[in-house]
């Protein structure tokens, strides 16, 4: 279980990291928490010639409130998300999600930016980012650009990150008053990826749904934004009937890969259950 040989680089500034990435091109991989990449390298599924470790780039860490957004450095770890007072007060959905990822040791290493940039539809943050209408700051040699989460995930392990670009920050708009959110994840055991999971962000005013966003984890080649399911709730009371209809519409867009966690039919059925469960919890939180 030893990776193929490579050269190791530990830049301390973002421009240095981007320069190294430009210099080594396709032969380089960025190392964030390393809990997806290093196992793949140990199994020799990945064999980069150069590893560019981002762990010593201080400017990629931290959680701040700015311009009506929560801004999170891409190298912020899952446990930093769980322990963050800023997130507990302003965006409790994120610690709730992080608590459902892997195990304590992995969460000390695993990063928000790594989870997103990897492009794995089984990862939890991508669907949550779609449901929260987040945007990602990508920086390359030519400067910075901002890509919405809904346009970032192109396929399994395929994202909008261009060669030479680094994800530097995740920006999430602060939810409007009256918003409730939840992430419901079905997994077989601690540390497992989702059999099915649903992220729901809901705003209710005078008993009627004003905003709804629903996104799904591990139910297709990318995280899925369930737009029809969400819009079916708009202007209506969120009750057993409308939640059931939203779940049915969400199930209709699922295209999961059968594996040891279940066949397609089971996973799609569980997707419906997770959507209903997340809707119920989010609804209960709308007044809070």
């Amino acid at each position: 279980m030893i990776p193929r040989p490579f050269e190791y680089h530990a830049p301390t500034t973002l421009p240095d990291a981007i320069a190294l990435l430009g210099q080594y091109g396709d032969d380089a991989k960025l190392l964030a928490g390393g809990h997806s990449l290093l196992p793949m390298m140990k199994l020799r599924f990945a064999a980069p010639g150069h590893l560019i470790d981002l762990n010593k780039v201080a400017e990629l860490r931290g959680i701040t409130l700015e311009g009506g957004q929560v801004r999170i450095g891409s190298m912020t770890t899952e446990n930093e998300i769980i322990f963050s007072d800023v997130l507990a007060a302003n965006l409790p959905l994120l610690p709730e999600v992080a608590r459902q990822i892997s195990d304590p040791q992995v969460r000390y290493r695993g990063t928000l930016g790594g989870d997103i940039s990897h492009g794995d539809p089984a990862n939890d943050h991508p669907a949550v980012m779609m449901a929260l209408d987040a945007e990602f700051v990508l920086r390359g040699p030519g400067g910075e650009r901002i890509v919405p989460a809904t346009a970032f995930f192109l396929g399994t392990f395929e994202t909008a990150l261009a060669p030479g670009e680094v994800m530097t920050q995740i920006r999430i708009p602060l939810p409007a008053p009256g918003t409730g959110a939840s992430y419901a994840k079905l997994k077989r055991k601690t540390g497992d990826f989702a059999t099915a999971a649903a992220a729901v962000v809901l705003r209710v005013e005078a008993g009627n749904c004003r905003d709804a966003r629903i996104a799904l984890t591990n139910l297709g080649p990318t995280p899925l934004l369930a737009e029809e399911a969400a819009s079916s709730l708009l202007g209506k009371a969120v009750d057993a009937k409308t939640m059931g209809e939203a779940a049915r519409l969400a199930m209709a867009i699922c295209d999961p890969a059968p594996d040891l966690r279940g066949d397609e039919e089971y996973k799609i059925a569980m997707a419906g259950q997770m959507v209903e469960r997340a809707l119920k919890t989010a609804l209960a939180r709308c007044g809070a």
């Binding site: 279980m1 030893i2 990776p3 193929r4 040989p5 490579f6 050269e7 190791y8 530990a10 390393g34 809990h35 290093l38 196992p39 390298m41 140990k42 590893l51 470790d53 762990n55 446990n79 892997s102 195990d103 304590p104 040791q105 992995v106 000390y108 290493r109 601690t190 540390g191």
Partner: protein, 173 residues
């Protein structure tokens, strides 16, 4: 073969300099170059937690960290726990509460529990089970591990401790 790199860090308080290939995993450096065989190789796939060490105030699985990433770091392994012939409260707790049977997972368990108690000196049983979930034990069924951590937590808070298995007194190493 890629050329070797000198890496310096502190291991259980001692300054270490070691020459490694970039691809060398921390667990291999510890066990094969530094005679630190407390951290065990269980699965080598970051699932079991037997190789857990404390790295700059975080619990990490040393099978999924490169030694070159530890430049300038402070590392703690089970070898650093007993001081002056006295067991650490966690070692005492695992002994008194029968927190082990075969003992293979124990160094990782204790090292992980140490960081948990640094962050939360008075965890509930639920919190212990949640925050110890990265360490697998195939013998005990975890009940006595939870008790051992509760015992150590009480002792580290300076409270009188009671053992459910009063078999050993005045344990020294």
């Amino acid at each position: 073969m890629a050329k070797k790199t000198a890496v310096s860090f502190k291991l259980n308080g001692a300054a270490i300099e070691v020459l490694v290939e970039p691809r060398e995993l921390l667990i291999h450096t510890l066990r094969e170059k530094l005679a630190t065989t407390g951290p065990h190789i269980g699965c080598e796939t970051s699932h079991c937690g037997a190789c857990t060490v404390d790295l700059d105030g975080t619990s990490v699985k040393s099978c999924t960290i490169l030694t070159v990433q530890c430049e300038g770091s402070e590392l703690l392994t089970i070898e650093g726990f007993a001081k002056g012939g006295q067991l650490h409260p966690l070692q005492e707790g695992f002994t008194q509460e029968h927190g082990l049977q075969c003992g293979f997972c124990t160094p990782g368990m204790i090292t992980r529990a140490y960081r948990l108690l640094q962050e939360n000196p008075n965890p509930t049983e639920e919190e212990i089970r949640y925050w110890m979930a990265g360490n697998l034990c195939r013998c005990t069924g975890y009940q006595n591990i939870v008790k051992a951590i509760q015992y150590a937590a009480a002792k580290m808070r300076g409270e009188a401790v009671e053992t459910s298995h009063p078999l050993m007194e005045n344990v020294t190493v």
